[in-house]
Symmetry: C2
DNA sequence: ACATGATTGGAACGCCGTTCCAATATTGTG
DNA sequence: CACAATATTGGAACGGCGTTCCAATCATGT
């Protein structure tokens, strides 16, 4: 019916891997991990589940692709020329902020070991470790420690966000409720946890994350 | 709920939270995370799904309880008297080995932030940090960094195991396939990843994990 | 104008977690 | 000991999920 711009006669509403991934990201951002279903996606794209499967193998691949889009954006951001340490901190913070903005990335990343998104982070960190002069024989353990820490924090942030959402709480109320549980633990059995509970609601995730990175960097420097 | 008293006339095959959790652990160990379903559980316990729900609120609680049983076992193991550093290493290795033996614990732990299983680990680590003389104002960031690292490594090990199982590979073949993918990346774009690929199949997860712990401990010591 | 292959979209399948409820087992009371 | 009250069981049923299948439609080369 409608004739398009000269050359292409493709329908304007045709599906494509890219449109599907964009819609998936939107769905995940709006409703969290459980918000991405093939039915909700079909609805948003005004099509059926079958059509989506022509462009995407399965849900796992779709999640990884959505995750990769976010990670690629974060890892391709230009960085000011600085010392390798400062650059490593910037890379780590970039991932922290990306996961903070899209909590589902944290848990998806944790479920796609060795896949493209994780490799992007590994690559970026590894290059800086070489600039830092880390000996070849320590490269793997070092990059692996940093990556594990970043993924660990990211996974926990994702879990916190999901847990809070499941209970209908915001971050502050959720932390307060956890702190309350901890403070009611038997001080004889849990002296540390019960005493640290009061610090829980006021702490700064981002600052703590960075302190952890610095701890590891300090450890690397003093080898 | 279940009452136990002398002369009790309870049927021998009665359900209990404990029996359900034990059966869940068995199922998870046999078939991985996806092996735990209320139907499989009913079959194993020779009952119906409804009966299980009388003892357990939902699947999430069941998973957390199963996870907690494993973590409690690992964290209550007696430790030789030793320096705080050595004890911290032993605690960390205890969790690593527990997750290695029950990969599903790694991913369950990552999804239950602030819950009992995580608190057990936090408590054990925190006590040693106090023995180590970490100042109060650094306690939270320090324990949090160690916990994040441990959960991060655990989560990745869990994901590796699950991924490998999904593709029907053992750990060695899975690592080899990942290494192969990495080595085929464009060396111009991924110089680090493509060059480190060959070290992937031969590395020792457990030793690398411990090196990461030492890196953090060294960072703590040199504050 | 038509044949061919790419692409669509909706129906259907077999799972899942969860709920519901009638049936049964156990306990407390006269 | 009888019998009401309560605790516990187990299976049917519900809605939603990922995935598969396939007839219908679209785009393209001849």
């Amino acid at each position: 019916m409608a004739k398009k711009s000269p050359g292409s006669q493709k329908r304007e509403d045709s599906l494509s891997r890219e449109r599907i991934i964009d819609a998936s990201i939107a769905l995940l951002d709006e409703a969290g991990e459980s918000g991405l279903t093939f039915r909700a996606l079909s609805l948003k794209l005004a099509t059926g589940p079958g059509a989506i499967y022509w462009h995407v193998a399965n849900k796992s691949e779709l999640l990884t692709a959505a995750c990769d889009a976010i990670v690629a954006r974060a890892m391709n951001a230009p960085l000011a020329d600085a010392t390798p340490e400062a650059t490593l901190r910037a890379i780590a913070l970039g991932m922290f902020d990306a996961i903070d903005a899209h909590p589902w990335v944290g848990s998806t990343l944790a479920h796609a070991p060795g896949q493209l998104p994780a490799v992007r982070i590994l690559e970026r960190i590894g290059q800086q470790l070489r600039h830092l002069g880390v000996p070849r024989e320590f490269e793997w353990t070092t990059v692996s420690a940093l990556l594990s820490y970043i993924l660990g924090v990211g996974g926990q942030n994702a879990a916190n966000a999901q847990f809070a959402q499941a209970e209908g709480l915001n971050r502050t109320d959720f932390l307060a409720s956890v702190a309350n549980t901890w403070s009611e633990l038997d001080p004889a059995e849990y002296p540390f946890a019960s005493s640290i509970a009061k610090q829980l609601p006021d702490h700064d995730d981002r600052a703590d994350f960075l302190t952890g990175i610095d701890l590891i960097l300090k450890g690397i420097g003093s080898r």
